[in-house]
């Protein structure tokens, strides 16, 4: 059964979240770029 082995008790701060951080920020940049793109269209037309 799952979870019967020794439980991993790493504290949250010891995980490396660098990849996650970059992925989240890329998503953020994409969302902002889409928003400003739509706004630029609205202003230009």
């Amino acid at each position: 059964m799952m979870g019967k082995g020794k439980p991993s008790q790493k504290s949250a701060s010891s995980f490396s979240l660098k990849g996650t951080f970059i992925a989240v920020m890329l998503l953020g940049v994409f969302i902002l770029a889409s928003w400003f793109g739509a706004y630029a269209l609205f202003i230009a037309r």
Partner: protein, 166 residues
Amino acid sequence: MHFHKYEKIWLIFGSGSLIVFLMVLGFAAFWKGTHPQSHIETIDPQNIEAHEAFQAENLGLHEVEDGKYIVNIVASAFNYDLGKDENGDIVKTIRVPKGSSVLFQITTRDVVHGFQVAGTNVNMMVEPGHISRFETVLKNNGEFTIVCNEYCGIGHHLMFGTVEVY
């Protein structure tokens, strides 16, 4: 509760965006008066002529002052009634000078239609019982096609017109 340093950064970023977007929404709605195009005024769709703007002689383009225009339109399956010109011919093209401020007022006598001037910011739903309004400054030269973008029946694709900005 303990947060990872990176987690704090993107939570602040996310919450910050939410606050910024809500402020933009509030600013647009309460300060700039941006609302849905058919929000206040209702009309009897069986008797739209009771409203001055939609009487046959008032349809189409009118200059209210220098550089300021009103266009009254009645949508019905499957036509935009833009009035008649001085020769009594049906108007299909509206011509306005570049930089004009144009208020489009439109209603429908039957089903839901769309009113989009493709390539501009004019894009409204036209619902029976409501008057849809949109005011815009036409700042680019060109010919812009008016299209119905709400499926309204078998002749939906026959509903079109032109706005020419010169």
